[in-house]
């Protein structure tokens, strides 16, 4: 039987209260959101916090809204509510396509977008989506709040810029009129983490790609993105040949590791093929087809 080690627990009622409780419990206190990464790690003693500060019942942290030209998603918004969000579906189908293949409905009922970002698993689907969309994160701490580009949010596997005593409060994604977006993932079985994934947005205007973003998970892409692939496409017509060249540049910019999910060359192949499929669909959507 796996059981976490003894731990203190306190429920926060607001962001200010959570910050105060984190400060009170010191460096070894951790925020618990959906708990679907943290509790399994605590059972295995891969994580052993002294105290858990529960942010599940802070209403201001959940929900999707539009603010100016950005979509704002609260850190405690659960996978299921990201999946069901009409606002996200309207502007960025990439979210729904990614969420449909994240874990299973039970995990999605608890797991959160903020937890996914902070866990920073190399295979994290929403980290790939966030980097594709060039979003930002709002991090709040004792010294106030700061906004961080998602392409600089992760410091490496399982590491982020969120320090002890700080909380990620929301994710922000710029709205891009006319953008098409898509997500592609290959998994070994239903509900599993990806062997490789790729998600993109593309804006086609006047017959050329004027803007795009390419995000990838599980293939060793720095900050879950490929500026090289994007540079290969911007200013070009969205022809099959140009999309394939961008997909090749994307795959070349990744450095996947072999693991139980597959060998490195297979993952490179998938990075290419999944990026190409996502680019095709996103470019078509941007052109209203």
């Amino acid at each position: 039987m796996q059981t976490p080690a003894p731990v203190d627990y306190a429920k926060a009622t607001s962001v200010a209260d959570a910050l105060a409780k984190l400060a009170e419990h010191g460096e070894e206190a951790r925020v618990v959101a959906g708990g679907h990464s943290l509790l399994p790690m605590m059972k295995l003693r891969l994580a052993r916090p002294d105290a858990l500060i529960d942010i599940n019942d802070i209403p201001e942290l959940a929900g999707v809204r539009i603010e100016g030209d950005e979509i704002v998603v609260g850190a405690m918004t659960r996978h299921r509510d990201v999946l069901d969000s009409a606002v996200l579906a309207e502007h960025y189908p990439i979210f729904r396509e990614a969420e449909r293949v994240i874990a299973d409905p039970l995990v999605r009922n608890r797991g959160t977008i903020g937890g996914s970002m902070c866990q920073a698993d190399p295979a994290s689907d929403l980290s790939a989506v966030g980097s594709a969309l060039k979003g930002t994160a709002v991090v709040v701490g004792p010294g106030g709040s700061r906004t961080v580009a998602l392409r600089g949010f992760h410091q490496g596997p399982y590491e982020t810029v969120v320090g002890p005593g700080e909380i990620l409060t929301e994710l922000r994604y710029p709205i891009r009129p006319g953008a098409g977006s898509a997500y592609e993932k290959v998994e070994r079985r239903a509900g599993d983490w990806g062997v490789a994934t790729s998600g993109v947005y593309v804006v086609v205007s006047g017959g050329v790609v004027t803007d795009c973003g390419i995000g990838l998970a599980a293939v060793g892409a720095d900050h879950y993105c490929s500026p090289e692939g994007e540079a290969a496409l911007i200013g070009k017509e969205p022809t099959e040949e140009n999309l394939a060249a961008a997909a090749a540049a994307t795959a070349a910019s990744c450095s996947p590791n072999a693991d139980q999910r597959g060998p490195a060359d297979y993952k490179s192949h998938l990075a290419h093929e999944l990026t190409l499929r996502a680019l095709r669909r996103a470019a078509r959507a941007s052109q209203g087809a």
């Binding site: 796996q2 003894p6 627990y9 618990v32 679907h36 509790l39 299973d104």
Partner: protein
């Protein structure tokens, strides 16, 4: 730490360690063994219960997190001595063999049908994709849930030991 929860409409209070998982609280503190405990790695769904009407894996939630919330377990599926149609569907369609996955499957199925009374086969398969069955190959489980969708009122009485 003090917790107060309502399980299948009945209030319970207990003094527990914060690290106690909800599944062990239900099985060991409350002595309700209908909820099963399987993989322990958040994969199998045998431990599925509802917390405030949402099905969740109770091995991946602390009991203290359920403080003030309302929990539903498989023991509460039958109403007024009559089986839930999902339970009868599992009987009619041979939806179980060893029965290990069954409580979780039924809690998920009931939640699915409450949201979507006429799911397609694909929607059913997606709905139970967080629940692993090592015996049946899923075919009869899907049939059982389809039976429940087609027969929204069950007729079989509950048998209690």
């Amino acid at each position: 730490m003090q917790v107060n929860v309502t399980v299948n409409g009945v209030e319970h209070a207990a003094d527990i360690e914060p690290r106690l998982l909800l599944v062990h609280f239900i099985r060991d503190e409350l002595q309700m063994r209908g909820t099963h405990w399987g993989c322990d790695t958040s994969n199998c769904g045998a431990c599925t219960v509802w917390v405030d009407d949402e099905p969740v894996k109770s091995c991946t939630m602390l009991a203290v997190q359920a403080h003030g919330k309302s929990i539903a377990t498989v023991e509460g599926l039958a109403k007024g001595g009559v089986l839930d149609p999902v339970q009868q569907g599992f009987m009619e369609c041979h939806g179980l063999q060893c029965g290990y996955c069954t409580p979780g499957m039924m809690m998920c199925a009931r939640a699915l049908l409450d949201r979507n009374p006429h799911p397609s086969e694909e929607e059913i398969r997606e709905g139970i994709s967080g629940n692993i069955c090592r015996c049946t190959g899923y075919k009869n489980i899907v049939a059982a849930i389809q039976w429940a969708a087609e027969n929204p009122a069950a007729t079989v009485s509950e048998v209690t030991a």
